[in-house]
Structure formats: structure tokens, C-alpha cells
Symmetry: C2
Subunit: 237 residues, 2 copies
């Protein structure tokens, strides 16, 4: 893919949470310090324990933040979309990443070294405040999901995970809402800490009841309201 025209990039990135409120000339200057990284499906921007050398802002595609269990199983903690920042620990002196960042499909991000990013946080209070706002939002989101993970039965949590995918990356189609990137039973299992067999049984049951239509790594929500009823307390959209 050809390098972005810098003016295009400034326009595109002016709206990402981290750079909100930053003058265009200042943003252009910051972008000259960045490198672009592209990843093929399944590649990692970084793995857990890698040296924390860079900070990233996702420009294209999707990324899942992962951790491994001591037994080597992968768990998905969050999904990121374009405009989201990740990998910030190095700017605060952490030696290595505590999580991994794996591309779902093809993905691209801008990368700054951790030292550069530390310097930008110190120089630009707008960026530091935006980052604080962004990370606080992610903390509260994870607090809610953690409470749900600790207390809810598996069907509710799987329903919630599927609705969340549809909400963040769904597009309307004639039959309902289609999740626009490949999602396997194993992916949903990793998001919910269950096994792919449990997820498969649930999705098969929903398909029988007409709530979804699914194929290999492909899901369409044909009755999102019924799924929401299973998930129970999804806030109205």
C-alpha cells in the first residue's frame, strides 16, 4: 500500500481520541515522528513479555489484546478498532508488554518509540489528558466486563460478547446485523474464557431458534433483540 499523503493522515487522525483538540500543525509534526506498521492476519504487533519499545495508534483493521494463561491458552481481554491507542506501558518505564496485540485480518498502525511518546506526553498536556480519558474509559469498561465475567452464566456472557462484536463491527444486512470480520467459535471462547465446544453448542441452539445465522467464522444476528434478552441487561441503543 502506498504511503499516505500527510495531509490525508492529519485529516484522518484529527478525530482519534488521543489527538482531539490538537492544532493541525502540531499533529502534522507529531505524525512525522511516526512509522507505519502493517500486519497480516494473525500477526502480532507485540507479544506478551516483548520489550516495550513502541506506542501504537491503530489506523486500519482490528486488533485483539490478549494474555496467555500459565497453561498456554489465549484469552482475549479487549478488541480495538481504528483510532484506538495501545502499547503505552513503555512510555512509563515498564520494560516489557504485559499483554499481546494480535491483528484480526489485515491491520495497520502508526508507531512511535516509547521515549518519543514519553516526551510528547510531557510536552503536550492535551495528549496526556486525552490519553488519561481514553485509559479511564477502558478501565471502566473492563470493570464492568470483569463483574459480568465473575457472576454471570456462560450463555449470558456469550450473548453479550456476540452483541458487542455486532455493535462494534456490525453492518446492517437484509437478514439483520452482520459481523464484518472473521470470528470463529474459538475466538468467542477466548473472549469469554469458555471452550469452543460450549460456544458451539450455544450458537447452534440460537441458530435453531432463529436468533442468528452462521457459517464458518461468520455470524449474522437475525434477532438481536432476542439475544439482548438473553444477555439481559445490555443498555438500549
Amino acid at each position: 500500500m502506498p504511503p499516505h499523503d500527510p495531509t490525508d493522515l492529519v485529516r484522518q487522525l484529527a478525530h482519534v481520541p488521543l489527538f482531539q483538540g490538537l492544532p493541525a500543525d502540531r499533529l502534522a509534526s507529531i505524525l512525522t515522528l511516526a512509522h507505519e506498521r502493517t500486519m497480516d492476519p494473525g500477526d502480532f504487533f507485540f507479544r506478551e513479555e516483548d520489550p516495550a519499545e513502541h506506542f501504537f495508534v491503530l489506523t486500519r483493521g482490528r486488533v485483539k489484546l490478549t494474555q496467555l494463561t500459565p497453561e498456554g491458552h489465549q484469552v482475549v481481554l479487549s478488541l480495538l478498532g481504528p483510532g484506538d491507542a495501545f502499547g503505552g506501558v513503555g512510555a512509563f518505564g515498564e520494560a516489557s508488554y504485559p499483554i499481546g496485540a494480535e491483528a484480526i485480518g489485515e491491520a495497520a498502525a502508526l508507531a512511535w518509540t516509547s521515549a518519543t511518546m514519553r516526551h510528547l506526553f510531557e510536552q503536550e498536556s492535551t495528549i496526556a489528558l486525552n490519553a488519561l480519558h481514553f485509559v479511564s474509559g477502558r478501565l471502566h469498561d473492563l470493570q464492568r466486563r470483569h463483574r459480568q465475567a465473575m457472576t454471570e452464566r456462560v450463555e449470558r456472557r456469550v450473548a453479550r460478547a456476540v452483541l458487542r462484536l455486532a455493535h462494534e463491527a456490525g453492518r446492517p444486512v437484509e437478514a439483520g446485523v452482520e459481523i464484518t470480520f472473521p470470528v470463529s467459535r474459538q475466538d468467542i471462547a477466548e473472549m469469554t474464557g469458555r471452550t469452543l465446544y460450549t460456544v458451539s453448542r450455544l450458537l447452534s441452539g440460537w441458530e435453531e431458534r432463529g436468533l442468528i445465522r452462521s457459517g464458518r467464522q461468520h455470524i449474522v444476528l437475525t434477532d438481536p433483540e432476542a439475544l439482548a434478552a438473553i444477555a439481559d441487561d445490555l443498555p438500549a441503543r
Copy 2:
């Protein structure tokens, strides 16, 4: 309790994470904007959905951050100790608190209005960066605990919760390590999303095996290494 001597307070708070690196005169000035709040055991600094009017730094005692399930059960997301900040969402425009903050035993905190705090973040990049560092650390801590909650059996998680209590608020006694504030079976159940009967069975079993000694809301770890073996992958201290 008599109001603090301001010089004492500056000395005490110079080391809390939020104010690290701030000149003493600037810190003194910030402290003049604060009010002190004290809470009796079981009182809330704020409850979930309360208007997000204040930002807090805990000066004495302990606080648990909680959420309610739709069924009205309480879950403990984190414990805070002296020096920890909480309640920051109002500084970013959120109308209400997404979590509750309940005093364990008697507790005291300094409180600033959300508008004052927003202003301080904008004026003092040191505070904004410190807050970013603090919140990022909490996010990573919760990511790890979330992964553990999703994938681990209940005995491991309860062992982990008890070890964590001992680590954060334990003191050496002749028999081992005593948790220095009252902790009931119900408290541990709320931290782990299980029932007090399950926690009771586990603790009774550990007591039979000589790993702990416990009474009413009181636990001494007599064999922390054995508990760590149960928890399995507690990092060495």
C-alpha cells in the same frame, strides 16, 4: 479528629503517586482546595450512579470499589489503600460514577470537586502524567485479574484473593502473616464472584491442613507458601 497541620499533610502526600514530583509549594496550594471526608465502616464515599461531583485521594483506611449485579449482589472489583486516587470520572465529563467506593473500617480521604480536578489536570502536566501512569497500572492489574477470573478454578482464585489481601494489608505475627482489617467470608466471596458457602468450605479445608488460622472476620496465613502453591503462579516476592 482534629484537622491536619498543612505542613504534615504536604509531607504525607508528597509521596502519593498522583503528586510525585510536584514542588512542595504547589502541592500545598492544591491541598488548600481540598476537603477532608471521613467515613464510618460500611459507609460509601459514593455509590454507583451517584452524580460524579468529586475526586478523591485516600489518606487513611481502606476502600473497596464495588459494582452491583442486576440481581443486586455486590462484587468487589479492587481494594484501595492510603495514597490511592479514585472517583476521577467526573473530571472527564461523566455525569455519574460507574462504581461504588465503600469504606472498610474507618477511612478518610481528601476530596476535590470534579471541576477543580479538571482544571488541575490541565494546569499541571505532572499530575496528569502521574494519573495516567496510575490508571494504566490499575488497568493492567485488572486485565490480569480478569484473565484469571475467566479461566481459573475457584480454589486458585480464592487463594489468590487471600494472598493479595495479605500482601497489601498483612503484618507479620508469630504464627505467620495476619490480615490487619476485618475480612468476612462474604467479603472474599464478593472479591471472587463465588458464594460465601464455597469460600467457607475452602477456608475450612485450608485450616484443617494448617495453611491458615481464622476466626470471625479474621485470617492469619500460617503457611503462605502452601497457599501460593495453590494459587500456582503468584509472582515471587
